[in-house]
């Protein structure tokens, strides 16, 4: 059973008489009660796509359904069923924490008391600051309040547009734990992020770029489908070795990855002899190992394959 379905969604914007394709034939199907990640860089079309799914933007082509409801025809009913946390801060800055929560509850005719169990774990961090104005909260606290406000009417589907952008690693981890906790109530969650390392926290992900989806699958399957062996190279003189690898005729692709280079060779390359010749080249202790790709490696490979 799918909670969110999109078929052939396309959207074009006009900018100074020039057509810009924000989304091209995008299809997804998100299973009920799953945590689905829409992963891609800025400008990939993530926000446009989410805005179409939450009925705030109409697609030029294609159709989309949330909980079986058409995002264009049934928009009033849809809005009762979904929670939406936009990327840009969505709260009323000059209302207090409490007032923001009360406002969002009243818009949906929701009762804070009876739905409080949903936000209890999140809102408890805010309880000491209930009378503080939202504009005066720290980034992490604003994020928790925005999530509480998106949840207070007990939506069955939750859409979050880049909730963790610009947030430090600790708050990001906290936030993902909160999302995992919400799954126990059967909620379907679609979350967009530019951070590739968050992919593995999702049940399924879509890798999106330039308005197109490269691949939709579980993170494990995407990693398993990486087509070539991947090697991590290290040396004492990293920068020089990287330049040598990039220019090497047997190398298909080479990118710096922290203190290593991730390298894919052309088919039938004898990696050992390449490493040996590099070692003789004076880069100092050239060593390598075959590694399991991460989602970034997969994304890069898919960008190359295009």
């Amino acid at each position: 059973m799918h909670s969110i379905v999109a078929n052939g969604i396309s959207k074009t914007y006009l900018q100074k008489k020039e057509k810009i394709a924000a989304l091209q034939e995008v299809d997804i199907a998100v299973k009920k009660s799953s945590l689905f990640g829409l992963i891609g860089p800025d400008g990939a079309g993530k926000t446009s796509f989410i805005r179409i799914l939450v009925s705030l933007l109409v697609a030029d082509k294609g159709e989309a359904f949330v909980e079986g409801l058409d995002v264009v025809k049934d928009l009033r009913m849809i809005r009762q069923k979904i929670g939406y946390m936009p990327g840009r801060f969505s709260l009323y800055q000059d209302l207090s924490v409490r007032e923001n929560l009360e406002f969002f509850a009243s818009v949906f005719n929701a009762d804070i008391q009876s739905n409080y169990y949903l936000i209890k774990d999140i809102f408890k961090h805010l309880e000491p600051f209930q009378s503080r104005k939202a504009g005066q909260l720290s980034g992490g606290m604003k994020q928790k309040l925005a999530l509480s406000c998106a949840l207070i009417h007990k939506p069955s589907v939750l859409f979050l547009d880049e909730p963790t952008t610009g947030v430090d690693a600790v708050s990001r981890k906290e936030f993902w734990n909160m999302l995992k906790n919400l799954q126990q109530y059967g909620m379907t969650i679609l979350v967009s992020t530019p951070y590739m390392d968050e992919a593995t926290l999702c049940d399924e992900i879509a890798l999106i770029q330039s308005g197109r989806i490269h691949q939709v699958d579980t993170p494990e399957n995407i990693i398993r489908q990486f087509p070539e062996p991947l090697f991590a190279f290290k040396a004492d003189h990293m920068y020089r070795m990287m330049v040598a690898l990039k220019n090497h005729p047997e190398v298909h692709s080479c990118f710096a990855f922290g203190d290593t280079c991730h390298v894919v060779f052309k088919r039938l390359t004898n990696v050992r002899s390449v490493a040996h010749s590099l070692d003789l080249g004076g880069y100092g202790h050239v060593r390598y190992e075959e590694i399991t790709p991460n989602i970034e490696d997969c994304f890069i490979q898919l960008m190359h394959a295009k």
């Binding site: 800025d42 430090d168 530019p194 920068y239 710096a256 990855f257």
Partner: protein, 245 residues
């Protein structure tokens, strides 16, 4: 020849009213290093960077940047360093060429030198065909690479990068770091903050700020070993983390 550190701070403090944003930090950055300056939101990183770039007077302690005193020679510091932040670096309503001319002028470069460097940069980044388009119409990845190139237009010995890589695609992020690595390889010093903890692995040394203090400082390898962590994210979470119960 023993080179003195390019940045040295000794018990540096910044206090806003009763709040101590930077609490007696002491560290050194060596010439040619890529130095990662990490910390949670609100740990005091931005305040520390503002002091080191001559934008904010410290409340106490000492610091020298490129040999200049942060109290008395802040104008010399500003003129000598490079600076790039994610939030603001380029003028969106100017073309790449106009941005280069503008920053070249600010840094007091001669007209010939600016034109020469402009050709180099635009060629290197494959931006020649875009040189007369407004910056706001460029893809984000190109903007960021251009912003970095502009921040080192005057070939500063030291460049500050404040969260330079947010939101770009992974290939651009790698290319961006390759530009940084090359600049360091040429003998320049990079001082960089980031929220991507995998990027800490590019740094020769990393410091992690917690509540205004430097809680850890060392090579990524040493830090991973002493905190018994498989990666820098784990180091960071151990130092900074107070997971939600």
């Amino acid at each position: 020849m023993i080179q003195s550190p390019i940045i040295e701070t000794n018990q540096l403090v910044k206090q806003f009213g009763a709040f101590i944003a930077v609490d007696h930090i002491s560290f050194e950055v060596a010439t040619g290093e890529i130095f990662g300056f990490l910390g949670a939101n609100g740990a005091g990183k931005t305040t520390a960077i503002r002091m080191l770039t001559g934008l904010l007077k410290p409340s106490g302690g000492n610091a020298r940047v490129l040999g200049f005193d942060v109290y008395t020679q802040s104008e010399l510091i500003k003129a000598s360093i490079g600076y790039m932040s994610q939030r603001f670096s380029l003028y969106e309503d100017l073309t790449p060429m106009e941005n280069i001319r503008f920053y070249g002028g600010i840094y007091g470069m001669s007209k010939q030198k600016i034109e020469l460097r402009a050709d180099e940069i635009l060629g290197e980044l494959n931006l020649t065909s875009f040189k007369d388009q407004l910056v706001k119409s460029l893809p984000l990845g190109w903007k960021q690479k251009l912003a970095f190139s502009v921040s080192i237009l005057h070939r500063p010995a030291l460049v500050f990068l404040d969260e330079p890589t947010g939101g770009v695609d992974p290939i651009t992020r790698r290319e961006f770091w390759e530009l940084i690595m090359r600049y360091a390889h040429e003998g320049h010093t990079i001082f960089v903050t980031t929220h991507y903890l995998d990027e800490a692995e590019y740094c020769n040394r990393v410091s992690i700020m917690v509540d205004g203090k430097i809680a850890a400082l060392g090579t990524p390898g040493d830090l991973k070993q002493s905190f018994q962590s498989v990666n820098m994210e784990e180091v960071f979470l151990r130092l900074v983390g107070n997971p939600v119960s």
